[in-house]
């Protein structure tokens, strides 16, 4: 069965510092991986995805993620955090099926302090 794990419930960083939000996955075959963000009182917003190609994927708001097949990881990164990046982040893998449903991790709350 496919699964996604986000080992940290919360990540705290100071504004201006680099941030990493961790994600590991378990799939059979090649993974389709996604990151979504949920700001307070807002819906899920797409940040980036990995389907194939370059292992470093660039997305919205200056975020990027690195696909590492040997470590089955897809960590979300940003070189310099902003207070406005504070939100709830979800990693997901798309199930290989006719449905294409997403399997989500538990979510990681990112808190960026000034």
């Amino acid at each position: 069965a496919q699964s996604v794990a986000q080992p940290e419930d919360q990540v705290n960083v100071a504004e201006g510092n680099p941030l990493t939000v961790k994600c590991t996955y378990s799939v059979s075959g090649n993974p389709y991986l996604f990151w979504y963000v949920q700001y307070p009182n807002r819906g899920l917003q797409f940040l980036l995805k990995y389907i194939t190609g370059d292992n470093l994927v660039k997305g919205s708001y200056g975020f990027e993620a690195e696909f590492n097949k040997s470590q089955t990881s897809f960590h979300l990164k940003k070189p310099s955090a902003l207070v406005s990046d504070s939100a709830l982040y979800f990693c997901a893998v798309r199930e290989i099926s006719n449905t294409g449903k997403l399997i989500f991790g538990q979510g990681t709350t990112l808190q960026v302090k000034p």
Binding site: Y36, G43, L44, F46, N98, G100, G107
Partner: protein, 112 residues
């Protein structure tokens, strides 16, 4: 292009009552998905429509949940009767192709 619209944005109901959530997908999107996040846990798939047909409803928790998509346009998700454990945020998403999601802002359901 208008996004995926869900309403109500919040609903507070008593245990045993009925609630109906609505999702209006992006026009022309044949695929419509419902997901749910129970407090503090992962977002879980509920079901998938292709037009008006249920493609996969393996995630529906029990028969108190009924989803419909009449005419292949908007969808409703009815919970009857609601229980405390049904509280959470219900997300809808739509796509033209399988897996190319646009999510709505969600409906926060609180059962008291």
């Amino acid at each position: 292009e208008a996004g995926v619209t869900q309403f109500p944005s919040h609903s507070v109901i008593e245990k045993g009552q009925t609630v109906t959530l609505r999702c209006d997908p992006i026009s022309g999107h044949d695929n419509l998905y419902w997901y749910r996040r129970v407090m503090g846990k992962e977002i879980k798939f509920l079901l998938h429509f292709v037009k008006e047909s249920k493609q996969d409803e393996s995630g529906m928790p029990n028969n108190r949940f009924l989803a419909e998509r009449t005419g292949g346009t908007y969808s409703t998700l009815k919970v009857q009767p609601a229980e405390l454990e049904d509280s959470g945020v219900y997300f809808c998403a739509s796509s033209q192709v399988v897996g190319g999601y646009t999510f709505g802002s969600g409906t926060r359901l609180t059962v008291v």
